[in-house]
């Protein structure tokens, strides 16, 4: 198999509980209609930033869109993780301000909105954010130290979105959702190195193909 099918095989495993199947399946059908949390401007910045921060072209086929921007935007209005940095405003406000800060800095430095920058320039701005070099000291925007803090939240949110996606789990050969079904709770029999069980997915991601074929 050279790429994962539209519906990842792990979703049909009897090692998956009905509840977990429902949770994972719901993630397949999120589509971008319009922003639920962010403004159109901030949403567009996030959409332009994600492929530069974490490109998925070596993991998923080009035809697969996991709607990361829409899912992160929706997650910002949902239940959060129970804490935030005291020096940042509440999450939804922090994200809106951070993304608009990036857009303003892009305009100041390059005379273009963030979405019109080349990927290299977008990447350089992101690196500067993570280094604590970029920020704006005015209302509705974040300072450089706040931007640096927020960049950790940004990275964490992306990883939650990616690693909990059944298409990514299938592509990376991750069996963490397959802890056991409802009538039989199978768990794992093999837990040591190089002992994949038959029901566990093999990696299909292009960047892991070489490693997997040597298994």
């Amino acid at each position: 198999m050279s790429h994962p099918p539209d519906r990842p095989e792990i979703l049909d495993s009897d090692h998956l509980s009905a509840r977990t199947r429902e949770i994972l399946t719901a993630r397949l059908s999120v589509s971008a209609t319009q922003p639920q949390t962010l403004s159109f401007q901030a949403y567009a910045v996030l959409d332009a930033l994600l492929p530069v921060l974490l490109p998925l072209d070596e993991i998923l086929p080009a035809s697969t869109d996991i709607a990361m921007t829409a899912r992160i935007d929706a997650a910002l209005s949902g239940p959060r993780d129970g804490w935030r940095f005291a020096d940042l405003p509440p999450d939804a406000e922090a994200w809106e301000s951070a993304l608009l800060t990036l857009d303003d800095v892009a305009a100041d430095q390059h005379g273009l909105r963030f979405i019109h920058l080349t990927p290299d320039l977008r990447g350089a701005l992101l690196d500067a954010v993570m280094d604590g070099q970029i920020g704006l000291d005015r209302a509705g925007r974040l300072t450089a130290s706040q931007m640096k803090r927020w960049s950790g939240d940004l990275r964490g949110e992306i990883v939650d979105c990616i690693m909990s996606d059944p298409r990514i789990q299938q592509a990376l050969g991750i069996s963490s959702s397959l802890t056991g079904g409802d009538t039989v709770f199978q768990g794992f029999t093999n837990v040591g190195p190089d002992s994949r069980e038959d029901f566990e997915p093999k990696a299909t991601a292009p960047l892991l193909q070489m490693a997997d074929s040597s298994e």
Partner: protein, 515 residues
């Protein structure tokens, strides 16, 4: 909870002998012990009653087990809350804890006497040991036949199978000449009938301990102490957020006001026990302005230095499989080359993918294809982590912020900064664990600087001027107010706190029954 048990209920007009706020490691053993001795007990739990089989390994959905009322994190090492921290729901944090169950080292009770730093506990291991053994015996703890650092110790269940990370850590210890063993884990490895609960199945090695155990193998309060409490007539009330402590004209506690389904309720009581943890317990006292003549409520917030070191291997590791943290070494409890006081435990680490990815994401600034490749290395990754002493420091504390939550109560502000001792321990561990992974051929070795657990804020001691509660957990200021959780720990010690919390809870129950 056993479905055949009919739970006794109390009217709000009844005066319960004891109301306990919190149903986790601090509240549940006490509830069971008091009920067994004939006391009328009501347990108020802010979260819901979960069904074990409904737990899901999906890490985003499993956040339902975490305390999600927002906390504000500050200081130079602002602590991440949420995951693997405070819990919610009947069972408290033990719903999602990792079940790693080492005993406190005898030396950690007397750190100040030993080193001149930190704080002594008002008693030693000999005082707590009988309670520790009772806890281990009742809830079920697995461990090795021979424990190298304590040859007399026995465990009732053999250890679960060693997963990839545990096997790799054994090799790494051997390479450096460190002793290692299967660590004590609060799970059962054969089916049993748990008194007052029913069948608990042997661990299935599913690896999702932190997302909630689905077959009852992990020893929490929900399959041990809480059903026992109910069997002896205690009432568990989930979905009840306690916020106001009422007092009579003499200043003694007379009852608790809590919100359930959007409505305010009041439960009168003769004794109130706070078992809400190192943030919510002091928050309750601070918002109500109680029990703080010492000025110590909220002070000396502590964590554990919990540095992790991860590496990638040539083999297919699959870190989600098997009990996550089986191998232990206690050889670093007082390392000879230490430039710090106290010590740390080292454990192997498997991990679920989003949690692992969060650590990678927050601990590095990789971007672009390199970030994608790092995440794609999940199935080849194994980790080791430490739990180490964190000294009490005046700048680390829980206070009330200026922001209100949905109930109109100030959100807690938690300030947490490492001092020189914590940094020295972190660097020592980072060096050692890196060396260990290098010795067994790990590549792309990555050090994650992090703190875990929450300890302190309502210190226990003999002097009323500098402690919130006496050595059995009773408030110095209000004689019918007690605290039973990790907020009373005078020092952090190195061991994961759950076992000591439960042992102290039984000890506090004994003291209450004698008064």
């Amino acid at each position: 909870m056993s479905s055949s048990t009919l739970m006794k209920t109390f009217a709000e007009t009844d005066i319960a002998d004891v109301v306990i706020i919190g149903s986790g490691a601090g509240g549940a053993p006490l509830a069971a012990e008091l009920a067994r001795n004939g006391k009328s007990v009501v347990v108020l739990e802010a979260g819901p009653a979960f069904s074990a089989m409904s737990h899901t390994p999906d890490e985003v959905a499993a956040r339902e087990l975490y305390w999600l009322h927002e906390r504000l994190s500050a200081g130079t090492n602002p602590q991440a809350f949420g995951g693997n921290n405070s819990g919610t729901g009947l069972g408290g944090s033990l719903l999602h804890y990792g079940a790693f169950m080492p005993r406190m080292d005898a030396r950690d009770f007397h750190l100040h006497t030993e080193t001149g730093k930190g704080v002594d506990w008002p008693f030693g291991l000999d005082e707590l040991l009988p309670y520790i053994e009772r806890v281990e015996s009742f809830i079920g703890v697995s461990g090795p036949a021979h424990y190298p650092w304590d040859p007399d110790r026995r465990y009732a269940y053999p250890p679960p199978p060693a997963n990839s990370a545990a096997l790799k850590m054994r090799e790494a210890c051997d390479a450096l000449g460190l002793r290692h063993a299967d660590g004590p884990a609060a799970l059962i490895t054969r089916d049993i009938e748990q008194p007052h609960f029913g069948t608990r199945h042997a661990c299935a090695n599913c690896g999702a301990c932190h997302q909630g155990c689905r077959n009852g193998a992990k020893s929490g309060t929900v399959n041990t102490w809480l059903p026992m409490a109910v069997a002896y007539g205690a009432e568990l009330r989930p979905g009840c957020f306690a916020h106001t402590i009422e007092r009579d004209s003499s200043g003694r506690v007379s009852g608790v006001v809590y919100r359930q389904d959007g409505l305010e309720h009041r439960q009168k009581c003769t004794i109130l026990v706070l078992a809400a943890g190192a943030v919510e317990t002091p928050r309750l006292l601070l918002t109500n302005g109680l029990a703080n003549s010492s000025g110590q409520v909220g002070q000396n917030y502590m964590t554990h230095v919990s540095t992790q070191v991860w590496g990638e291997f040539d083999e297919d590791i699959r870190p989600n499989r098997g009990y996550p943290s089986l191998t232990i070494t206690e050889d670093m409890m007082r390392p000879k080359d230490a430039d710090f006081v106290g010590g740390y435990l080292v454990q192997s680490l498997g991990m679920m993918p989003a949690t692992w990815g969060q650590n990678l994401a927050r601990g590095t600034t990789t971007r672009g294809p390199a970030f994608a490749r790092a995440l794609a290395g999940y199935n080849r990754s194994a980790g080791m982590g430490i739990n180490g002493e964190c000294l009490p420091r005046p700048e680390n504390r829980v206070t009330l912020s200026n922001e209100k939550d949905a109930f109109g109560i100030p959100k807690p502000l938690i300030e947490h900064s490492y001092g020189p001792n914590e940094w020295a321990m972190h660097h020592h561990a980072a060096r050692l664990l890196t060396q260990m992974w290098e010795a067994v051929g790990a590549k792309d070795i990555r050090v994650i600087d992090r703190a875990a657990h929450m300890i302190g804020t309502c210190r226990m001691g003999t002097d009323a001027g500098s402690n919130v509660v006496n050595p059995v957990g009773r408030s110095f200021d209000i004689d019918n107010l007690w605290i039973s959780d990790h907020s009373i720990f005078p020092s952090a010690a190195a061991a994961n706190p759950a076992l000591a919390i439960m042992a102290l809870s039984l000890r506090t129950a004994d003291a209450m029954l004698k008064t």
